[in-house]
């Protein structure tokens, strides 16, 4: 191991819950200012780590990493504290991203990054919480959580690394894999047809939906930045190419186009644009920001708790009421 422990335990004892300093609730306000600062040549804070990168050469995850790091750097340049950014990761190739970014991170269970992230955000509304999850975690194992996070408008950003295949377990068909795919678990061709996750989330009540592609970092950065700035649930379905098991670069390059003149506040138009491609057929694939809705965020009331409860006195009150 590259890191030596100091050996001596540093610590003090204290009772009670959180010891964290709570910044005032403010979600990643980007950042005309931040972008300007970056342009003006202020050196961006380095967010790399000592962890060795183990993605395959050419993996689409590099684009996601570079885009999200750049967005975090802009946020920090714009005044967000680096210490207030939290990445919650799922399991799979996508989740390795948390080792590669020098911000707070929590690598959760497969399919369970979203409820973990919701808990983190409820505990400390001042944190900017971004989930990195594959299509297996978001659209198969953890689909229930995704739908309810959207329905409740939990104030988190979900970046789905959607490569339509299980990479780390070496190439099985996943929820976004088109029929006919031959992997080791479907040697004679997979039979199931993908559903459209953005259509599902539109119906579930998501308040910010977009789609990006790992050939196109500027658009990815724009989408990630806007989804994070959005107050409430935001999801960027990122078409991320797995070069080893399902290399879609050529197909996607031919079919993708960026939305122009689309009003994301028009729910009907958003649904039509979302339904244009069904994740299985060869039609054109729209990229960009499909939908924005305004709704109260989940459990806003918690953010108003003042933190000054005399617990012993209040417990005594309850006992008196029960007599």
């Amino acid at each position: 191991m590259s890191v030596e422990s100091s050996g001596a335990k540093k610590g003090t004892e204290a009772t009670g819950g959180a010891g964290a300093e709570r910044p005032a609730a403010a979600k990643g306000s980007v950042s005309a200012q931040g972008a300007a600062a970056a342009k003006a040549g202020a050196p961006a804070v380095k967010l790399g780590t000592y962890a060795k990168n183990t993605w395959c050469p050419g993996c689409g995850n590099f684009a996601v990493l570079n885009a999200i790091k750049a967005v975090f750097q802009d946020l920090i340049a714009g005044g967000t504290r680096r210490e207030d950014i939290v990445v919650v990761a799922d399991i799979g190739c996508s989740s390795k991203i948390m080792d590669y970014i020098g911000v707070n991170s929590f690598d959760s269970l497969h399919g369970r990054a979203i409820p973990t992230a919701v808990g983190v955000k409820l505990a400390n509304p001042g944190l900017t919480v971004v989930v990195h999850v594959g299509d297996g975690g978001a659209y198969a194992e953890g689909l229930e959580h995704l739908i309810f996070a959207a329905q409740r408008n939990a104030d988190i950003t979900v970046i789905v690394h959607d490569n339509g295949v299980y990479g780390l377990t070496i190439g099985q068909a996943g929820p976004m894999t088109p029929p006919g795919y031959k992997g080791r678990s479907t040697p004679y061709g997979s039979e199931s047809t993908p559903f459209n996750p953005l259509e599902l989330l539109h119906v579930a009540g998501a308040t910010w939906l977009g789609r990006g592609y790992t050939h196109g970092i500027p658009l990815l950065k724009k989408l990630y930045r806007e989804a994070i700035a959005h107050p409430g649930f935001g999801l960027v379905d990122t078409l991320q190419v797995c070069v080893t098991f399902r290399n879609m670069y050529e197909e996607y390059n031919e079919r993708v186009y960026e939305l122009e003149g689309h009003d994301p506040r028009d729910e009907t138009a958003a649904l039509a644009k979302i339904r244009e491609w069904d994740y299985a057929s060869d039609g054109p694939v729209a990229l960009g920001h499909f939908l924005t809705r305004e709704r109260p965020v989940f459990a806003e009331g918690f953010a108003r708790y003042g933190g000054a409860v005399d617990v012993e006195a209040a417990v005594a009150e309850v006992f008196a009421e029960l007599a």
């Binding site: 335990k9 959180a18 020098g102 973990t116 919701v118 409820l122 959580h145």
Partner: protein
């Protein structure tokens, strides 16, 4: 006394009112509610036992039977001892249909007629019956008037009129003693657990409804504004567990509550709490299984499940309070323990403890210390916060100092994957071993700390050579039986880490040892044997019903021979 009727008749509420009445005249109470898992139809009943001394069990026999329908008489007639008093609705049950043995001490009132005269809705029938009950055992009208005024804030006037008619139409059958003295708090086990957790710093509770833990969700949701609790009912138990672990990572004390089936769904999260060293309290209410089993009944079948749940090897604690005072004090300790040692702690209760109510005796609350969590006090690094703090610093006792995201100059990385001291993923064999051994040291440090606490109770006659060992809610009945028949009663409250040394001391000199538990396989007896402790026999019950004092006494006496 027992009150029974159809589900939907408001039997639970009427039972609560009877408890309030007995509390008001100075008795200590135990209230047992039995309700099938349905909303309407079926038979519900509540037994309220009142005593001058603190009690936490019911008796199978009752002195007063309050019947809203004929089925109540048919089902519970066997419970009546000599001079039984029967209070009944004479329009729902024909007096001529009552068994002859009940005739001398019965008093019936025409409930429907009373309601018609007062133009009161059917839901008020219980007020009429309560009036008749008070008259039958000579509780003064003023006491009932106070209780109705206090606990039935809606349509109080009309309820009082209906109750007065019931009171006037019934006849006195018994002069009940009025012990006097101030009413005591009456708590359900879950309320005691909830208040204990709150005292332990609880800030967040995530739970999906499941008997017998639902009451905690209700209680904490209601108390949320007062204590600034973040109470959430998410999409299922998996989400509840993971949300709570998110709170823990961010520095907020959190708990989840469920029963066996929901706990099964939480198990992967429990294992993550082991690997990622996240403090979490799980309130696990036992009910009969396997699978759906008997949803609204009681059991002690999840000890082995709680002990082994979760892949991998990591330390945990299992605490099984048996009475409300224990539930209150040990739930605070459960939270402190989870945060001091950064691991999962399971509070293992059951339907009987959770959903029965008992008078709470402040003098009977165990004295337990507050444990302190270890907060990091290293130097923050503003330029390289990711190198300032090691979430999983390897230490002598295995406990790493805590810091949370949002703290200046510090980056906090938690990980469900095997990791290094900074929380960065690794598959290095040496680091794998160092982390595993860190957890083992942490578990040993916790066991040593617990060993100094009053984690094994002894009741009855401590010098007796005949001993009954039990855990959880049966202790209520056994505490009484121990005194009645002069045997030693041993109750470990902490079941894991297994309190071998302390149990051995509590069992010293025992010539015959019987274990009482509500399961079919003798799970705790098995655990004792695994640790070299001798068990002669197991008295068990697995029909979903709790032990009553009379029946259990006979079985224990038989087993101790």
């Amino acid at each position: 006394m027992l009150i029974g009727g159809k589900a939907g008749d408001g039997i639970t509420e009427a039972g609560a009112m009877i408890a309030h009445l007995m509390n008001a005249i100075g008795y200590r109470l135990f209230r047992h509610v039995e309700a099938p898992s349905l909303i309407r139809g079926g038979h519900n009943f509540v037994i309220v036992r009142a005593h001058r001394q603190r009690i936490s069990a019911y008796r199978d026999h009752v002195n007063v039977l309050i019947a809203l329908n004929a089925e109540t008489i048919e089902r519970h007639e066997w419970r009546l001892k000599q001079r039984p008093i029967t209070v009944f609705d004479s329009e729902a049950i024909k007096p001529s249909g009552l068994p002859a043995s009940l005739h001398p001490f019965r008093t019936g009132i025409p409930v429907k007629t009373i309601l018609e005269k007062e133009e009161a809705p059917p839901v008020m029938r219980n007020s009429a019956i309560l009036g008749a009950f008070c008259r039958a055992i000579s509780i003064p009208w003023e006491v009932l008037e106070d209780v109705i005024t206090r606990y039935q804030p809606k349509k109080t006037e009309l309820n009082l009129k209906v109750a007065r008619r019931g009171y006037d139409l019934a006849t006195e059958k018994l002069m009940v003693d009025l012990p006097g003295g101030a009413p005591q708090p009456v708590l359900g086990g879950l309320e005691a657990i909830g208040l204990g957790l709150i005292r332990g710093g609880l800030k967040a509770y995530a739970s999906y409804p499941m008997t017998p833990a639902t009451g905690l969700l209700h209680f904490l949701a209601k108390q949320a504004p007062r204590f600034e609790l973040k109470v959430v009912q998410p999409e299922g138990e998996i989400a509840a567990m993971l949300m709570a672990l998110g709170h823990a990572y961010a520095g907020e004390r959190a708990a989840v509550g469920t029963s066996g089936g929901g706990f099964a769904l939480m198990v992967e999260g429990l294992s993550m709490a082991g690997q990622a060293e996240l403090p979490i309290v799980v309130v696990l209410g036992q009910r009969p299984g396997p699978s759906t089993g008997l949803p609204t009944y009681t059991s002690q079948t999840e000890l082995e499940f709680a002990l082994t749940a979760g892949q991998g090897e990591f330390p945990r604690a299992i605490i099984a309070p048996g009475e409300v005072e224990q539930a209150y004090a040990w739930s605070t300790l459960a939270m402190d323990l989870a945060w001091k040692y950064q691991l999962p702690v399971i509070v293992l209760g059951d339907r009987t403890l959770h959903d029965s109510s008992q008078s709470f005796d402040v003098g009977a609350v165990p004295e337990l210390p507050r444990l302190r969590q270890l907060d990091w006090d290293g130097a923050p690094l503003d330029d390289e916060p990711d190198l300032a703090y090691q979430r999983y610093l390897i230490t002598d006792d295995g406990v790493s100092p805590l810091a949370f995201p949002g703290r200046g100059g510090v980056i906090v990385k938690a990980n469900s994957y095997t990791h290094d001291e900074y929380g960065v993923t690794t598959e290095d064999p040496e680091m794998t071993v160092r982390m595993q051994e860190k957890w083992l040291r942490k578990g040993r440090a916790m066991a040593e700390e617990l060993d100094g606490l009053p984690l094994v109770n002894v009741y009855g006659d401590p010098a007796a050579t005949r001993t009954v060992v039990t855990w959880g809610s049966p202790v209520g009945a056994l505490r009484e039986i121990g005194e009645l028949i002069g045997v030693r009663v041993v109750q470990p409250v902490v079941l894991w880490p297994f309190p071998a040394r302390r149990l051995e001391a509590a069992l010293a000199g025992s010539e015959r040892t019987v274990v009482v538990e509500m399961n079919a396989t003798g799970q705790f007896a098995g655990l004792m044997r695994r640790h070299g402790l001798h068990v002669d026999a197991v008295v068990n019950r697995y029909d979903g019903r709790p032990f009553g004092v009379g029946e259990l006494r006979a079985r224990v006496e038989g087993a101790l021979k």
